[in-house]
């Protein structure tokens, strides 16, 4: 399936859709984080961010490869390079511009805490061996992303006046994009029925507790949980930022489809 508005019928269609949703989040966020390469605040943190970006792109690559196998596409590049923004199923949180270091850390932290609980629950219920194997392998890296970003939230929040303010601004700005983490649509409902996805509301409280505890420890205010939340990205209604990201990411592969690494 390549269009966003088709409800999967078979188990295989539901699996492909689930793989692509997970992969798109990770490819787009991985690409955003990769924009730090060479610009990190310190050499060591430059490496750390590049590692995290590579991990996420690696997770996406594995998930796409499996989807390509199931759908009979040539390889994972089909999904990364030859789809337009309307066909990407990532949430807006992943596509927002790079931002400053505090914003980068806030985003990795919120996304990794979510991934941590999601993968933990998925590993328990997913019967498909290949999919479950990927989840288990990637879960180890997610734990590290969570640890690294959490430690930085604590240090920025409880650091200097400037780092505190930047961290607070980052969480305030990004908060309206966290609603999509927990939005479930019909596609997800089919996947849940087929034991390929979990009801994310089941771990929403655990997620909130970890986030709130961390923000409080970091002396940061928790943004208003009841505020307006952005939605619609999973159905292809993206922010203006995704198109520009794809233009940069896809241009070479589309302009020179036969290009090879030499």
């Amino acid at each position: 399936m390549s269009t966003f508005d088709t409800i999967p019928k078979t188990k295989q269609e539901a699996l492909v859709e689930t793989l692509l949703r997970l992969a798109d989040d990770r490819l787009i966020l991985g690409h955003r984080i990769s924009e730090w390469a060479g610009h990190g605040p310190e050499l060591e943190e430059d490496l750390a961010l590049a590692n995290i970006a590579l991990d996420m792109i690696g997770h996406a690559s594995a998930l796409y490869t499996y989807a390509a196998e199931l759908e009979g596409k040539a390889d994972e590049d089909h999904y990364a390079y030859f789809r337009d923004d309307i066909d990407f199923k990532n949430i807006a949180l992943c596509e927002l511009p790079r931002g400053d270091f505090a914003f980068t850390i806030a985003r990795i932290f919120l996304f990794s805490t979510f991934s941590y609980f999601l993968y933990q629950k998925l590993i328990d219920i997913v019967e498909d061996e290949q999919f479950n194997g990927m989840l288990q392998k990637h879960f180890k890296e997610i734990k590290y992303h969570l640890r690294h970003s959490r430690e930085w939230v604590l240090r920025l929040g409880d650091g200097t006046d400037e780092s505190h303010q930047r961290a607070q601004d980052a969480f305030n700005e990004i908060w309206m994009y966290t609603g999509e983490l927990f939005n479930l649509d019909e596609v997800d409902q089919v996947a849940i029925q087929k034991n390929l996805f979990v009801d994310t509301l089941d771990f929403r409280e655990e997620w909130e507790k970890l986030v709130v505890d961390t923000l409080e420890e970091a002396t940061l205010n928790v943004p208003d949980m009841e505020q307006y939340m952005f939605s619609g990205s999973r159905q292809g209604r993206h922010t203006e930022h995704l198109g520009r990201l794809l233009a940069e990411m896809q241009f070479l592969r589309r302009s020179y489809p036969d290009a090879e690494w030499k």
Binding site: E42, E44, A48, N51, H148, E151, R155
Partner: protein
């Protein structure tokens, strides 16, 4: 271009040691900059654990390492030069011991 130390905004330096396998001695990997111990461990991980190098890390503030100076090389190390009998290989293994193997 001279900077005195009070203007130095660089993070402190940490020496990183890794253990290649269970029971093996820790080896020096290199150094990282980090604001504190937890981030020194994480920076060690991101800098020196990318190719399956080992199973454990030590990080030690570099200014806590006490080093011998180059002038110490003579008195510290030269006396061992002509004392090959300090190496186990200096001794031939008695036949009786060899047999028992």
């Amino acid at each position: 271009m001279t900077k005195n130390s009070s203007e130095n905004t660089e993070w402190p330096l940490w020496e990183v040691f890794y253990q290649p396998k269970d029971g093996k001695p820790f080896e020096h990997a290199g150094s990282v900059h980090a604001p504190d111990a937890e981030l020194a461990l994480q920076n060690a991980r991101d800098t020196y654990a990318r190719r399956n190098e080992g199973i454990a890390f030590w990080v030690v503030p570099s200014d806590q390492i006490v080093a011998s100076s180059p002038e110490d090389q003579g008195p510290f190390f030269d006396p061992a030069n002509d004392k090959p009998y300090r190496h186990p290989q200096f001794y031939s293994v008695p036949r009786a011991v060899k047999k028992r193997k």
